[in-house]
Amino acid sequence: MKYTILLIVLPLLFAFLSMIFKNQKKPLLYLGITVNVALLFIISKGTYMIGGFDAPYGINLVLDQYSYIGVILINSLFFLSILSNSKLIGSYSPVYLTLLAGVNGMILTGDLFNLFVFIEITTISAYILTSQSKKYIHTFNYLIIGSIGSGLYLLGVMLLYAGFGSLNLADIAAKSSAATGLLLPLLLIFVGLSVETKLVPFNGWVRGIYKNSNGLVGSLLASIVASAALFVMGRVLNSLFATSAFMSNIIILVAVITLMSGEFSAFKGKSIKEILLYSSIGQSGLITLLMVTGLIFPAILLIINNAVSKLVMFSIADEISPENKTYSDLKGSFAQRKILGLGFTVASFSLIGLPLFLGFYAKINSLIGLFDINVLLPLVILLITVVEGAYLIRLNIALWHPGEEGESVYDVKVVTQAESNMGMILTVALLSFVIIITGLKPDLLGNSVLSDHSLLNTKTMTTTSEFLIDLKGGL
């Protein structure tokens, strides 16, 4: 049945309804996100045309295995982040619903101009949400960079339209496989998408925005908008850029620089949110690197790992220190909040890629894939993993260890578990459970979400079962 379009339309409907029924804003928001999660159980894969025009002429929605994973990840995490930070919603319910419609559209659409529209819907919602922090100059910065980026993206798309007479991604990909002289449009499209994926020269907005946003907006941006942008980046890279070796090399270079600069800046970070924002930049670089080298499966695992971990960590960072203190001022703050602390530790260990967690499976998969392509790239990732481990374990020690008697400068306000946020505790416990279970039994992912291995048709990828055989053979 054709329920897929409802993932985009229903949040918009609820957003407009909550503009009319202003005193029912919050119930409508909860209804909207619940309906979207319920829709995940009844959507079926396929390509859906909209408006009765067939694919190259009309807009179509593509729900293949790749976007199916994206939609499941994004809608369920959106539900959980709203649930865990419900006290921070305020009067912005319609904007959250519009954001949800925008990210779903970004992942589902198969049309390049439609993608532009959904990127704009998402970013305009993000501008409004980030202005809650009252640091308007950072939001203005984000608005200028984002608008120029999407303008350049639109210019690139229109150059492709002038060349091929089509806006459909699959259609252009088929027509452009033998074409030359696509450097300018591809470069413009890449620059446009890089703004949202936080690649190196275009991520000047990230610091001001992430550092000042509250737990809900921060976790939405870092886990949901970032994942949607990376899913889009992966699809565009693997359909359009597959033929251009020169572009691929440029993107690999940009991705490696992003990865290294992000992780080294995170090492120098002073507050939890600062560390998390630079770590997000680094992870974006790593995922883009995997996408452009065609390692779709490890890239998706890393997106899942990054999204789940960042949701947990951003929510907890805001819960224990809304005013964004340096972490040396927060010594021992997990001593009163053991469940949140355990969740934070599990998420950060998974982000490093320690064994027993999902991140290990994602990272070793990407290393095995990259060794087939190049020797230097895996070395970069290993080096970066050491840096990641250093700062995240240091952060964990500081937050757990109360310090010597009289040394703890943090004025410990005794918070019992019952007093603190129940929704957040449930979410953190659930997501930590997911990280550990999928880390211990990666086949669970393989059997449920990744059951169909034909993710993207252009390049090969390592499947779960193949990977396990490889690992056994290797060991």
Partner: protein, 112 residues
């Protein structure tokens, strides 16, 4: 020719954005960039001597020389989106003015 002038207009907008320190002028620069982009998109579908793609009593044959209507539809959408962005930008500019009592980026400092 008109395509080149559209690209010059876009570059002028970016130049304005990069050189000015005034927030309202930055929004104007952004708008000049968008106008240049829209003109460029329109020119993609333009054909000299062609008619609008509407069948009327005068133009009642489908073999007539039509312009491409798709870029026009796209520009319509792009104008609406540009309007939305300008509106959000102006709201932010007003809020910045209320907060810092200036429109100059240098005086605000931009400290993070």
């Amino acid at each position: 020719m008109i395509q080149i002038s559209a690209i010059v207009l876009m570059l002028l907008g970016i130049y304005g954005l990069l050189t000015t320190k005034h927030i309202i002028k930055m929004i104007i620069g952004l708008n000049i960039f968008e106008v240049g982009l829209n003109i460029f998109i329109i020119t993609i579908g333009y054909k000299t001597g062609a008619v609008a793609p509407i069948l009327t009593s005068q133009n009642n044959s489908s073999i007539l020389n039509f312009v491409d209507p798709l870029p026009q539809a796209i520009v319509l959408t792009a104008i609406v989106i540009g309007f939305g962005i300008t509106a959000v930008g102006l709201i932010l500019a007003k809020k910045i003015y209320v907060q810092h009592n200036t429109y100059n980026i240098d005086e605000i400092g931009g400290k993070i």
